[in-house]
Symmetry: C2
Subunit: 475 residues, 2 copies
Amino acid sequence: MNAPTQLSQLIPEVHQRPVPAAMLDALAARFGAQCSTAMAVREQHGRDESAFTTVPPPAAVVFAESTQDVADAVALASQHEVPVIPFGVGSSLEGHLLAVQGGISIDVSRMNKVLAVNPEDLTVTVQAGVTRKQVNEEIKSTGLFFPIDPGADATIGGMSATRASGTNAVRYGTMRENVLGLEVVTASGEVIRTGTRAKKSSAGYDLTRLMVGSEGTLGIITEVTLRLYPIPEAISAAICSFPSIEAAVRTVIQVIQLGVPIARVELIDANSVRMVNAHSKLGLREEPMLLMEFHGSPAGVKEQAETVQELASDHGGNAFEWATTPEERTRLWTARHNAYFAAIQSRPGCRAISTDTCVPISRLADCLLDSVAEADASGLPYFLVGHVGDGNFHFGYLLDPDDPRERQVAEQLNHQLVARALQLGGTCTGEHGVGLHKMDFLVTEAGAGAIDMMRTIKRALDPKNILNPGKIFAL
Amino acid sequence: MNAPTQLSQLIPEVHQRPVPAAMLDALAARFGAQCSTAMAVREQHGRDESAFTTVPPPAAVVFAESTQDVADAVALASQHEVPVIPFGVGSSLEGHLLAVQGGISIDVSRMNKVLAVNPEDLTVTVQAGVTRKQVNEEIKSTGLFFPIDPGADATIGGMSATRASGTNAVRYGTMRENVLGLEVVTASGEVIRTGTRAKKSSAGYDLTRLMVGSEGTLGIITEVTLRLYPIPEAISAAICSFPSIEAAVRTVIQVIQLGVPIARVELIDANSVRMVNAHSKLGLREEPMLLMEFHGSPAGVKEQAETVQELASDHGGNAFEWATTPEERTRLWTARHNAYFAAIQSRPGCRAISTDTCVPISRLADCLLDSVAEADASGLPYFLVGHVGDGNFHFGYLLDPDDPRERQVAEQLNHQLVARALQLGGTCTGEHGVGLHKMDFLVTEAGAGAIDMMRTIKRALDPKNILNPGKIFAL
């Protein structure tokens, strides 16, 4: 693996392709007030939640209100060979939204209609700009829910494009498993549909899953059909403290290996608990903690909980606290939900850089413990949370953004972590995507042959390289 | 939709590309006794289980014993621009294996090693020629199992290539959900790897799922890493008879909509029961029947069974017969397992043509009942079985292969069924694949734009069109 990639190294390689005046005129003529070139709007669309230095913003932002708007904007971009970058709520974490080759942003947040709820088929079809919380709000009368929950209230389009997941993935899968079909605008501005509402199909190439996780580089997602699930009859949550991270992780490994259908199992390290206690006055034991949730029938939930409690006890887990009402559950989950903000506030002025490795469950303890030792040795403040049932976890390194040395330490820690995860048969990104930050890691992970295949697909489907260029891999 | 496609219409369009003598010489030099040009061997590799008239067989068969063998054979084929068709056990159903453009067959059945069992991660890595029953045989000491079970004891490579599923898919998903990673030989004879052993990943394009279901047209699968599942603590099976197909199907719809995690739920129509009674002397009530299986803890299984029994009773279901020991379960499943052979024997000399539509569960009754009425009206003998929990079912029309009129009636029935399924938001193939037989249907289902995208990907990844050419879509 090469030395850690830093954006400062990437930017000089990027050429800002010009956006001709004729393109801006054509956008103004077609979109009127739906197109903005105001600097504040452009700047807001030229960054995401990553810690990257901002590159020059896109030349214009089109606020699409329909698939036809997206198609027309892309057709104009194709004609003028101008890059287009789709934008939802701007919550991506790896530099996905930066206009590293210039171009325009297509903001789909106004495409926020739930188009069809089919409760009898456990599906819903939404426009790309609908957020995950909005989906659940709009379907709540059906007795169904959509489980995928990245930290942010992201758009379904963005979650599809980055193959997002979250705390429920251990039971319900990721966007890979939960997107049934898509409407996509191609690089030439054509509109295609992928998949059907049938639960399974062997009909030709799986374009749906090719688009899911393609980060806007193969097409712009405009509609998504999602799988839904019946809200469980019983839900029970619990927190449990452990004498060490290892004890917590070894408990999780056994839970998964036994096939307990646990719905959520989140690790929160002692640092996070300390920060959350300081932030939210929760009075939790300042030890590593698992936060768990069980879904099923009342008897099933009880049975799962008993199994897990027994496994936890074997590893010294104690202070089990249970919650079955929605209010109690919300209180328990506060520690997890507030971890990020509590951490940020623990070091005024800092920025958090998040890692995202995922490894086979049997290697989770090895991968995690060695990386904890390295982080401790570095002296950099950090917190650690994780969807450990999937083998996925996030270190959040808390940096002084004005201190290049700290940035370098964090990059080095992440570099070592990714190298370790890949050596253990894992991946550099469980759910955040590649964007700009993990391009070198992806080459190491996938190998030259697979990257070449990805490049060949990209060149074939986007011959002018206008769809979010410069992301995932260099061409 | 165009008129029904018949192979007799397809074959004239196919041009048999020459296999130069230099290619055959090179194969003989490289592979010696591993390469056969004996007519019997070639003929065996030039057909599958479909009812298509055989086209001329491949010019040679290479019995690959390693990934390197496959890579070398493909490299030679690329050099001479000769088609290559991967072959497992020959159990595909839609003409996938026919050498419609000539070329050579690469038989992977000798690549039958289980390479790595990782019980602690619930994964196994196998060579492409390992069959599904062999996987389960070789891992039985681990307490884990691999659930995907198409009718035949197919190879894992072939099951991946056709995105196969079977009776357990309602609970455990299809090959789409259960293949974690692949080794693939590309059109130029390079070897690439896709995916990792991590349970989830957002690292670049999902080449794994692009290859799964690509029917040998984008690469030849040589290794597969599969997800495994703990053998359930308790398994209980039941059969239940219903006064009508509609009553059975409406029961299933409610089971699915309530989110009961049923492991298997198979419909067997009264025709099938009659044929199976005649064949295996089972003495079953000659009424439509559901065959169900429940997996979980003893209490969980009991709870699921009670829920389903109540729903079935509401629809007139009766004569529940339960089985909990493996021997009793096997006896109950005999009806399902023998349905095909019992049907074939019910009409001596006949061939069965199988349909494979899959629709959203809410439309299952409409789709199925109208098609039953059409089949009854046609006078053609048939049986009906189905993975109805997924909305997937198979009519088996029993034809006199020498009677073109019967063939035409069957094609017409299938044509009407597919049209109906597509209109209801479903797919022309739930698990068999497109092959030759469903090419026209796929155009209707996917639309011109999506088919163009598939063609573009095919042309980019296989510029000489040597990988199983002439399948899925015309170029």
